[in-house]
Symmetry: C2
Subunit: 242 residues, 2 copies
DNA sequence: GACATTATTTGACGCAACGTCATAAGATGA
DNA sequence: TCATCTTATGACGTTGCGTCAAATAATGTC
């Protein structure tokens, strides 16, 4: 029994090692440079051993995605515990999401891949469920804040403004901003500010439109932005600045 | 001269044939099924000939993207000539964008690919410029409407609400909604409406928040939705329904 | 129409990467 | 110590990309 667990732990640790290595290669050399041979060489095992852990390259991408989403869950969780009103807590999610995209640019972009059908087919069902579960945790955190806000009367409640409307509004805006930011459209050359600069303003506008109190017109959102950054994401922002 | 143009026309037509074929394969069998051999067989030429037109598979994806974006430009252009006020015209863009994503689901999803750096490197510079140009046309149409609205006093003008803010707000929301819709997250099972159902509401909320007159609270946006669909996109919607 | 020259097409070839599997090496237990 | 079961290996088959020398076709000239 003990030896079994030791064995299992060894396997688990190697799995992590594989993902560590794969992620590193992905970041350094892009998706094209990420090959099974390359990973095998790097971890000093043979290709077959890698295949004992992951059934395909897509499976590895999926594994990397799961790790990243766990990071997102952690960032979101921190945001949801931000010491402030519900409006401030939901705003913190937007910042969390954009920091996430900046911390994991390559991964976020390639995560799109596993969303396409013919690639998803090459990933085992339970691994897919893992992603789904993580997505549920992420949306769950946001939904809880929205429900809190409704329960506490921060938002005027009526049918059209149901929680899913607010959630998807913020989510799609956030998601879209992140991906636009990562695409290399030269916003500066088009005389525009970048999506990441503007998502803070626009998400606040959207929340205002849902009449989520306190409105951004009644508070200093730049100060709030700073406060969230320093209180919640000091470490991550330092990492981004170097 | 005449023979030269004939030759050129032949080449151009074959290029179109290649893209037609590639797009068809992409839709029927996914990215994995799209191989250079496959295209060559289909058009009854050899692989080498295909390579005379496109330097790589990525180059073909890029070509397909350009065609799609031309479609988007056309849909946008129609929206911008919608017979109504500026607020209605900009709203029509949102509908256009979502119809576009539904008409070209596979292409839109794979277009993300050519946004990633290591793949973009495999596309010739002038082909990349083509995409950039199209992106400019698309954003240009939207920007013009926003500027019209500002000039005509539909939007209260102040620094923060500069055109790029509105543009990127709508763009990222639209873009994000489309991609979320195409990812196979089971929104229904999560008890939510879908991104495409909600983007209409949320984009209107955002525009309201910019105080873009007439506000959606003062008009029947469901009726407007219907009017835009029937007046501008009858044909496309019929195509989608079958 | 015959010939030279230029342009285009072809498919065999080299190469890289995926994923498999028979065999080798190692661990476990009696 | 030996038998058994588990894990690791890398050679192998396969596929698909992209190249290029040779074949074929088109064009122009006399």
């Amino acid at each position: 029994m003990n030896s079994l667990t030791r064995k299992q732990r060894e396997l688990f640790e190697r799995e992590q090692l594989i993902l560590d290595t794969a992620q590193q290669i992905l970041n350094q050399e892009g998706l094209a440079g990420l090959t099974m041979e390359r990973i095998a060489t790097e971890i000093q095992y043979s290709k077959g051993t890698v295949y004992n852990h992951f059934s395909s390259k897509e499976d590895i991408i999926n594994g990397i995605s799961c790790r990243c989403m766990n990071n997102l869950v952690e960032l979101f969780s921190r945001a949801s515990h931000f010491c402030g009103n519900n409006r401030e807590r939901i705003s913190a999610l937007v910042i969390a999401h954009s920091i996430y995209a900046q911390l994991h640019p390559v991964e976020v972009q390639n995560m799109q891949l596993i969303k396409s059908k013919d690639i998803r087919e090459r990933i085992s069902a339970d691994k897919q469920d893992e992603i789904l579960l993580l997505e549920q945790r992420v949306t769950g955190i946001a939904l809880n804040i929205i429900k809190d806000a409704m329960a506490e009367g921060d938002i005027s409640q009526n049918e059209q403004d149901a929680p899913d409307g607010i959630l998807l509004g913020l989510w799609s805006m956030s998601y879209g901003s992140n991906l636009l930011h990562l695409s290399d459209i030269p916003f500066d050359k088009l005389g525009m500010r970048t999506p990441l600069e503007l998502v803070w303003i626009n998400s606040n506008k959207l929340l205002d439109s849902y009449n989520w109190k306190p409105l951004s017109t009644k508070m200093d959102i730049q100060a709030l932005y700073q406060r969230i950054c320093t209180e919640l994401y000091q470490k991550e922002l330092q990492q981004l600045n170097k």
